[in-house]
């Protein structure tokens, strides 16, 4: 403000009125941008100071560049750019000075051509380079230059210098404000940036190429810096970390982007921390490089990764074990398969052998059946062939005995009776043999019916009465009260009882014969016991009496007309009915034959 007051003061030289100058100042103050300000000044100079054409160049980032111009091609203006490094350049020299410098027409006289070894948007016209006013804050140079081409060759008016002065002041003022605004914005942005960087939990650092830390976020500072107020242990940890940090990172080429691992110590608790370091070269300032470092905490990651590796190793081990196990199983399976195959083969052979034996057995059974049938047929035939001549013997004997062929004397009659008796004995034997054959061939039909045993016993007793009549024997019968009806073959049971009773009577010269009928409800078995006081049977003979022709004393049997087959047949018949015959006997004292019969015979 002090300068403006000074500008507005009436103490001015030159031909332009104070009013025109005031108008320019007001216009400049009203404008906030550099380019319009420069354009106002140029137009003002064209109007009030005899300037034909010209342009304003300003310093921007170490270079002098075109800002705006009057009657200057836009392309030429944009193309204008002059580095300030070349301090020998006439325009740089003009910029550094405080007085306008005249550059005469380069095409008019050959002697002055050397003065113009550069191009400007003004072409070959002669021009004046007028530095804008310098301020203390702006270092070696003012804010820029006015390059003006005037109507005549005379010196520039005082108005030109004045206008350049206030334009310079105004531009510096604008730049200063802009710089302030920029600074504020930068500060704000820096604080944001730091907020973000500090919010990152990984340490972030910027160092120069020697490893000196230029910037660090909060986590990095915690690890790598410690003031005197911190504890001794913490300072040591930080010192160690710095050592590790420098050693790990800066004995290599820090300019190359790289990843590496870095082990640091947590100063707060002394735990090991493993970091993966990502370093990237960055430009710090013009011509100077640095390194940006991001340390990623991979401690947990490493631990997890180690756990994963451990698990993977265990898995591998388990897999190997499982594979071995599987191999063992495969081998076992193969063994089992082989054994099973062998077993199958053995079974096959055994089955084949069995089938062969079965076939043999079947054939043998068939042959046996055939043989049995043949035997039965043979017996039937033999029986038939024996009966026919026997029929003739018995028949003719009787014809004679009956007197058909005339009367015989007593002696002839008696002898003929002997013939008859023997013929009948022969017939009895043949009949018994035939019975046995029928039983053994299973051709004896069994006819089951309801049989009341007491009635049957009475029936038999009646039939043997003629035998009793001729003797002095006492014959008794005892029948238990609760003998149920049996389901059995009446005819066969009768045949057995008759045989037993006949035998008892035949083999008992004196004494008694008793028949006892009983029933065992537990066994569901009826019993018919025939007891005599007869000749008895020795223990030795008891073993054979049930066999064919097993009579103990054949001579005795002959006397009584027995065939010697009776017990054998009875025994077989009892078996057919599911029963049995047993004997208790003592030689000379008597015998008891017992027939046991089930309540229900099975066919």
């Amino acid at each position: 403000m002090a300068r403006l007051a000074q500008l507005e003061s009436p103490d001015f030289r030159g031909g332009v009125g104070a009013k025109a100058r005031l108008a320019l100042v007001e216009a400049l103050l009203a404008e906030q941008e550099a380019r319009p300000c420069a354009l106002f000044v140029l137009r003002w100079l064209v109007r009030h100071a005899g300037i034909e054409r010209g342009f304003c160049a300003v310093i921007d980032a170490e270079r002098l560049v075109g800002l705006t111009g009057i009657d200057i091609p836009m392309a030429a203006l944009d193309a204008f750019s002059l580095g300030l490094d070349d301090r020998t350049h006439p325009l740089v020299i003009a910029l550094a000075g405080s007085e306008p410098v005249a550059f005469p027409n380069s095409g008019h006289s050959s002697g002055q051509e050397l003065l113009r070894p550069f191009e400007t948007p003004l072409g070959t016209d002669s021009f004046h380079a007028v530095p804008l006013s310098r301020t203390a804050e702006h270092g070696d140079f003012g804010p820029g230059l006015l390059l003006l081409s005037a109507q005549g060759d005379g010196p520039l008016s005082e108005d030109v210098r004045w206008a350049a002065e206030i334009l310079g002041v105004r531009l510096v003022s604008l730049w200063y404000r802009r710089a302030q605004l920029d600074e504020r914005r930068h500060k704000r942005e820096r604080s944001w940036l730091f907020g973000v960087i500090n919010a990152v939990t990984d340490p972030i650092l910027l160092t120069d190429l020697d490893g000196r830390i230029l910037m660090a976020n909060a986590v990095a500072e915690m690890l790598l810096t410690a003031d005197d107020q911190k504890s001794e242990g913490r300072r040591r940890a930080v010192a160690l970390n710095n050592l590790l940090f420098s050693a790990a990172l800066f004995n290599k080429d820090g300019l190359e982007p790289s990843r590496r691992e870095l082990l640091l110590v947590d100063p707060t608790d002394g735990q090991d921390l493993l970091f993966e370091v990502i370093s990237t070269p960055v430009r710090i300032r013009l011509g100077e490089a640095g390194v940006a470092l991001i340390l990623r905490n991979v401690t947990d990651l490493r631990r997890a990764s180690e756990e994963i590796e451990e698990n993977y190793r265990k898995l591998r081990a388990a897999e190997v074990e499982a594979r071995a196990d599987a191999m063992e199983k495969v081998q076992l399976y193969e063994q089992v398969t082989r054994h099973s195959e062998e077993l199958r083969e053995k079974v096959r052979l055994a089955t084949a052998e069995l089938a062969g034996q079965n076939e043999l057995l079947r054939r043998q059974a068939f042959e046996l059946e055939q043989a049995s049938a043949a035997k039965s047929q043979f017996l039937a035939n033999v029986s038939h062939e024996l009966r026919t001549p026997l029929n003739a013997i018995i028949g003719y004997t009787h014809l004679m005995l009956e007197g058909v062929a005339g009367e015989m004397n007593a002696s002839q009659h008696e002898k003929l009776n002997r013939v008859d008796s023997n013929a009948r004995h022969l017939l009895a034997i043949i009949n018994d043999l035939l019975d046995i054959a029928r039983i053994e061939s299973g051709k004896l039909p069994v006819q089951l019916e309801r049989v009341a045993l007491p009635d049957l016993v009475d029936e038999v007793m009646t039939e043997v009465e003629p035998l009793i009549d001729g003797t002095s024997l006492t014959v008794s019968r005892v029948i238990a009260p609760a003998v149920p009806e049996l389901r059995t073959d009446r005819q066969k049971v009768k045949q057995i009882i008759l045989n037993l009773l006949s035998n008892a009577l035949k083999f008992t010269p004196q004494g008694s014969v008793s028949i006892v009928l009983d029933y065992d409800p537990g066994e569901e078995e009826a019993s018919v016991a025939v007891t005599d006081t007869g000749i008895g049977i020795s223990e030795e003979n008891q073993k054979t009496i049930f066999e064919a022709f097993g009579q103990a004393d054949s001579s005795y049997a002959k006397r009584h007309g027995g065939t010697g087959l009776g017990l054998s047949i009875c025994c077989r018949l009892a078996a057919i009915l599911g029963g049995r015959i047993t004997v208790v006997s003592k030689l000379g004292e008597g015998s008891t034959f017992t027939l046991a019969l089930p309540r229900r015979a099975r066919k």
Partner: protein
């Protein structure tokens, strides 16, 4: 033999004895004749049929194992013929098996007598059959 002499004897029952064995025929015929029966004989099944149709006997004693036509077949034919079906046929066999007995009854025999048998028993059976027929 003259007709006049035979007149009274004509009233006696006529028994046809069929047997291929000579002594079988002889024993039966001699005994039955002795006991007052009229008798005729045949040695095989065909002859038996011829005699039966010709003489129409009161009882036939039929052996079963016969040449030409066997006793079973002869019996079947007799029982199928209106003229002879009422005549009792007593099977006379040396076959002692039950199957032979059943077979004879199936063929139509009225009873079965197993050989050997006493001539006396045979006469009893003949008289039984005659009595049954009379009733």
């Amino acid at each position: 033999m003259s007709q006049e002499e035979e007149t009274a004897a004509d009233l006696a029952p006529l028994v046809l004895i069929v047997d291929d064995v000579d002594h079988g025929r002889e024993i039966c015929s001699e005994y039955l004749a002795f006991r007052g029966f009229r008798v005729a004989t045949a040695a095989d099944g065909q002859e038996a049929l011829d005699k039966a149709f010709e003489l129409l006997p009161d009882v036939i004693l039929m052996d079963l194992s016969l040449p030409k036509i066997d006793g079973w077949e002869a019996t079947r034919r007799l029982k199928q013929d209106a003229r002879t079906k009422a005549i009792p046929v007593v099977a006379l066999t040396a076959h002692a098996l039950a199957s032979a007995h059943d077979k004879a009854m199936e063929a139509g025999c009225d009873s079965v007598v197993t050989k050997p048998c006493l001539p006396r028993d045979l006469e009893a059976e003949v008289r039984r059959q005659l009595a049954g027929r009379a009733r």
